[in-house]
């Protein structure tokens, strides 16, 4: 007699739990915090780590996608830094604060090149005209199990004119995405779909940068960026190395 009742209770408890779970994980992001709140939170983090620095000015909040925002800033010590925010559990979280605006690749989902964002922040007074970003995959060839193989070298570049954009967060150029995608798509998919692993094909690509001054000569890293004072928080980023001209083909 009582059994239907119990079934009903269990069903409703289960559906409420499911709803809460969905709400918790997939709720749409709220309004991104305003400048005052951003300053507050960033300075809280700096205080927490006992850094002497203080964020003076937010340059811009750059929406990478609905749940990811990059915020370049200027500090009291004259750092041109970068902060990264994600819509986490129910609030906008500051996940990383970097005193130094060196080019970084924010890989939101490693297996999806459309989710990669290139970020940088260069002090405008520095005499560099252009920032070049590179995607490189080394040439690979040989004989394995009696079969010859050859993978062409990939080397593509993207030019950023610093006078127009001294800071930014931009998606990869479509051609880069195309090349990455074509390589990921070739990866074996025999693994269980339950485990999402990083594509090994995507890992073969390197992302690098260099900078060119008004005289056409390359500008060294030391001039372009102050040595990093601090780097707080998690980093799901790929740091981009500076490339030597001789490495380029």
């Amino acid at each position: 007699m009582r059994r239907p009742h119990i079934t009903w209770i269990w069903t409703s408890v289960a559906s409420v739990l499911l709803l809460v779970f969905m709400w918790w994980n997939y709720s749409p992001p709220s309004q991104f915090p305003d400048e005052r709140q951003l300053l507050q939170e960033m300075n809280d983090m700096l205080n927490q780590y006992r850094s002497g620095d203080k964020v003076a000015d937010i340059q811009q909040a750059i929406q990478a996608d609905r749940r990811h925002v990059a915020v370049p800033y200027i500090s009291d010590d004259g750092n041109y830094g970068m902060s990264f925010w994600i819509w986490g559990k129910w609030k906008w979280e500051l996940i990383s604060l970097e005193s130094n605006g060196e080019p970084r690749l924010w890989m939101i989902d490693r297996n999806d090149p459309t989710s990669y964002f290139l970020t940088w922040n260069v002090a405008p007074e520095i005499a560099a005209e252009k920032l070049n970003a590179y995607i490189i995959r080394r040439r690979d060839y040989g004989v394995m199990d009696g079969k010859t193989y050859y993978s062409p070298r990939v080397q593509m570049s993207k030019e950023i004119v610093l006078a127009e954009e001294s800071f930014g967060a931009i998606p990869l150029p479509p051609t880069w995405q195309e090349v990455l995608q074509s390589s990921i798509h070739l990866d074996e998919t025999e693994t269980f779909p339950l485990f999402t692993s990083y594509s090994t094909a995507a890992m073969q690509f390197e992302f690098k940068w260099d900078a060119v001054g008004g005289n056409g000569k390359s500008v060294s890293q030391e001039i372009l960026f102050k040595s990093p004072q601090y780097s707080y928080g998690s980093s799901d980023f790929q740091y981009m190395m500076m490339i030597d001209e001789r490495e380029l083909e």
Binding site: R139, T148, Y150, S151, P152, M156, L186, P193, L248
Partner: protein
Amino acid sequence: MIIRFIRGVNEINEYGPFDFLSNLLTVLAWGAIFYLSYRIYRKNPEQQVGWKAFLVLLIGISSFSITWVMANTVIQIAVLPLGVWILYFILKRKEGRWERYRKFAWLGFGANYIFLLSILVASSIGHFVYPTDHAETFVSDVKEASILSIHPTGNAKAVLNMRVLNSEIQSLKQSQIFDESWYEDTLYQEKAKYERFPYLLKDAKPKWGSGHRSTIFVEKDGKGLLIQTPTEHLYFRSTQSFVEGGDEK
């Protein structure tokens, strides 16, 4: 070696082009299994419950199997009937129950060999219908295809001559990626900062139903195709160039 439960399911999950033959043979294999189980069932329908017999069959499929790759085909040979053992311990607790369902459990284990047979048949027919020594298997429909320069050696303005590629595709000759002097050549190329395959061929479709995944590169002179599949790298030459505007640079 892996343990796989309910095989035949995860093949369907695999993304990539539609593999007509293995899908067809998987359907045929399941058809054969259903037919056999129906024949067992019909002998004495009073003693068995249909859905229970079906469940026993499914559990019976679980097995410990050896996996290896033979002629580019993933083959799994069931060795230990894990599902059958589990069923035995569950079913024998009631008098006569194991005896009634035994045949379905063993049919489930036997199903592994029906799947194995279907894979072997699919792959051997596949070798004839979709030969890997024909470029046409990988590049059959080029209506939406285009090329993309991936290295400074390539000319950014170069475009694909679809008409030539379309007419040449059937007569492309497979050849060696490297002849005797390949190693020296490649070292020389590296010094000369030259890439032999500076274009990516994108959006070319493989022959219908072949299920072949590949990444394709085009040679600098526009006369060669490097086709990378998950298991090998193939190289084809044509007599005519199918790249326009690639020679100026």
